[in-house]
Amino acid sequence: MQVTSHKFKENVKTALGQPNLRVALDRTTGLLTSRRRETIAAYPEYAEARTTAARIKDHTLAHLDHYLEMFEKNATAAGATVHWAQTPKQATDIIIEICRRHEAKSVTRVKSMLGEEIGIGEALRDAGIERVETDLAEHIIQLAEEPPSHIVVPAMHKTREEVADLFRLKHHDPQKTDDVAELVESARRELRPKYIGADIGISGANFLIADTGSVVTVTNEGNGELTTTLPKVHIVNVGIEKLVPSMEHCAVFIRLLARAALGTEITQYTTFYNGPRRQGDVDGPEEMHIVLVDNRRTEIFDGYMRPMLRCIRCGACMNHCPVFNAVGGHPYGFVYPGPMGAILTPAMTSLETAGDLPNACTLNGRCQEVCPVNIPLPDMMRRLREEQWQRALTPASMRYGLGFWAFAAKRPWLYRLGTRLSVAMLRLLAGSKGRITSLPLAGAWTRHRDMTAPQRGTFMDQYRRRRQP
């Protein structure tokens, strides 16, 4: 996909200027976070499951070569063909070649972030093959010709009213009202014939099981199984980090994934695929291909970001991120937004391109707190900032600003004078309201929210006052 992470600040300005976006974000993340809280409160064994899950991933990564070979052997034995791709280009070349060999005209697709990562949509378009997105959200953004804005609910930036207008424009037999149930029904009517007519179905995978060679998908809509069962070929594109040793290990993650992502105990459909149609079967694909994709995961593997490869793509970190909740996923400019995207985007593009992302973070730590595999996201953001500083990629204004701050911080009398003056000035600006609605030199900040006025007295003043008996 077109990476626009280098224009993050510009993108943020555009996002903040869209009043509908805030409504859409609040409606969705509000529900997702409250549901998550409830299901985890009802699962007292959660902490133990979370620790176990992180250990399983660490173990699998520590023997990744071993498990990849084991998976390849077992998947091949089940009749699947395993392909390896280092780059997105290699991956899409393999997929397009399979499509060409089968003279495919139409491909149905189940949402997978890896597919977005390798640009499968563009590759199919360039090859002149029709691509039908079957996940409801992906269907919406395909019609709107927009990129996804969230990894689990990619059309979360759209209100129901916007979706209704879009369907009225694009569907053959659209709904009558803006009711969400009617919108869903309209999409069902539109997509059903497409499933039947597709030559090839493409899916991702949530997990790969090393000791059985199985591919596991976790979905809610049932579009996955229709996509992978009806066409004569099923292609799986998947990152090499998705491995777990066995079905029993996978069970630990399935309990965590739906709770973290959607606030439910399990999704409606969890499917374990083992190769193509067997002798006597009346449905299922005749061929199954699994494309294992690196796309710089081996580089991530090599450094301090290795824990990032534990990520199971649940989206909890972004649902709980104040920055994501203010601007949505589009400003991040890549497949992965929010906290996990702020790590993966620099890793998969470059720190030069995506340097703003690890800085768009308040370091409040909620992302790690809600992460079902305990990825130290804030620590990695700090490491990325350090790396930027060392490589002199930090903008001049920030370097001067920090230099100025360091000068004062090393001179306590100056620092105290400065903070005292600032407190007085901010309180004066706030007046009796206790909130500052416009701040000189920080208009961009106060345009979208008020700044809270500081308490009376600096920290040192208050400390001294309270120490007096």
Partner: protein
């Protein structure tokens, strides 16, 4: 270098060791999931059957459940459901002898699926109490699509085949020593989506209604 060797080579270079001894790795992996009670949700005061029924009929899963004495009573319960739901007395069912041999009375059956099949009746291999999940596996007499294409998904379930946890199901598969089927489907309620404003809507692409008829087993 081909991509496979390049990827494995890069991983081995980072790990800085020769491939580990397979038996050791397996032991280490096994230890990680020892004593699964640590992380399995406990429901000590519920039987497998009561937990399964509570979950299946929950607001989230939206299934309805009937209990009958024996498999031979199931067609009657299915007929009642069809009448209640205002459906024609005609069902799609997989080409399984177990289903074919039942006395369906005036309910006609066909072993094919149309793209807009209104009702399919199937029989589950197993169920999992923890989450109210039904387990199906693909075989010549159990095609996958019977569980995904119809609008009404009616399932017959042997009350004696409700397991407590998914781990118990995988243990059964291991014990049997059989190869994994092409497709193992864990199905928990009806097709749903929360893609528009996070609202849960039923019948996104697959079944909108689920009705489970439990036969036999300790009540």
């Amino acid at each position: 270098m081909n991509p496979r060797d390049a990827i494995l080579g890069a991983i081995r270079a980072s790990l800085g060791h020769e491939p580990a001894d397979a038996a050791n790795v397996a032991r280490e992996a096994e230890a990680l999931i020892a004593a699964p009670a640590r992380f399995q949700p406990k429901f000590d005061n519920e039987t497998n059957r009561s937990r399964f029924m509570a979950r299946a009929t929950s607001e989230r899963l939206t299934a309805t459940v009937d209990e009958v004495g024996a498999l031979s009573d199931a067609p009657g319960a299915v007929r009642n459901y069809l009448v209640r739901a205002n459906l024609p007395l005609s069902i799609a069912r997989p080409p399984a002898a177990l289903l074919r041999d039942l006395d369906w009375g005036d309910v006609s059956g066909h072993e094919t699926l149309s793209p807009d099949e209104p009702v399919a009746v199937n029989i589950a291999d197993w169920a999992i109490a923890e989450t109210g999940t039904l387990v199906f596996t693909s075989r010549p007499d159990s095609p996958t699509l019977f569980n995904y294409l119809p609008l009404h998904h009616v399932i017959l379930l042997d009350g004696g085949k409700i397991l407590r946890y998914p781990e118990d199901y995988w243990a059964k598969v291991r014990q049997s020593g059989a190869a994994h089927p092409r497709s193992t489907n864990f199905i928990t309620g009806t097709s749903g989506t929360a893609d528009i404003e996070g609202q849960n809507i039923r019948g996104a692409h697959g079944p909108r209604f689920m009705h489970i008829v439990i036969f036999g087993g300790a009540p």
